[in-house]
């Protein structure tokens, strides 16, 4: 079945440094739709980015990601981390039914 891999459980960065959170996926379907959700403590997860278009960069709130179907990847990036970016980030995959989420990457940004 479908699966999403986020290999980093915790990423710790100093403020101002670039962010890259990895996401790879497996699916037998060609119509993959990928999402990044951000989950702040004591809040609900909310949508950050989404894409179904191969090799097209999508951006929102300073973050960006490009879906690469050839490598089954959808890595999340930001040029300069802010303290307020500290949160849990989920990559998710949807094909023909319910979305599947990865294990999540906790991003901790330090001063």
């Amino acid at each position: 079945g479908d699966s999403v891999t986020q290999k980093e459980g915790l990423v710790t960065l100093t403020e101002g440094l670039p962010v890259m959170l990895n996401c790879t996926y497996q699916t037998i379907y060609s119509n993959a739709f990928l999402f990044w959700y951000v989950h702040y403590l004591n809040e609900s997860p909310r949508l950050l980015l989404k894409s179904s278009t191969d090799n097209k960069r999508t951006e929102h709130q300073g973050f960006h990601a490009t879906l690469h179907k050839s490598s089954s990847s959808f890595h999340l990036q930001k040029s300069s981390a802010q303290l307020s970016d500290s949160a849990l980030y989920y990559c998710a995959l949807r094909n023909n039914n319910a979305p599947r989420f990865g294990a999540g990457t906790k991003l901790s940004v330090k001063p």
Partner: protein, 112 residues
């Protein structure tokens, strides 16, 4: 404002107890989902539904039942709760196009 509301926010029950978690959405969405969130596992899909009376099995359904009574309401039932079901549970809804998923605030369940 469209929303997904979960109740209760917190619940403590004993092993073998009977628990019902409730979810109501006012988004006019057809699809609703139940996930559990555990460190190291992320959000895992328990059950989901395409509409009233419909139920689909997710990836971790053992020990859980669910029922979609109306378009708005989706319930998760634990009939014999076990400590392994201690978790943070999220309900979500989406439209038919599934372009976004709106999550509730979560229910924290402790089974002692």
């Amino acid at each position: 404002e469209a929303a997904v509301t979960q109740s209760p926010r917190n619940k403590v029950t004993v092993t073998g107890g009977n628990v019902t978690l409730s979810c109501r959405q006012t988004n006019s969405h057809n699809y609703m989902y139940w996930y559990r969130q555990d460190t190291g596992h992320g959000l895992r899909l328990i059950h989901y539904s395409y509409g009233a009376g419909n139920l689909q099995i997710g990836d971790v359904p053992d020990g859980y039942k669910a029922t979609r009574t109306t378009q708005e309401d989706f319930f998760l039932l634990l009939e014999l709760a076990s400590p392994s079901q201690t978790s943070l549970y999220f309900c979500a809804s989406s439209d038919v196009g599934c372009s976004d998923y709106t999550f509730g605030s979560g229910t924290r369940l402790l089974v002692i």
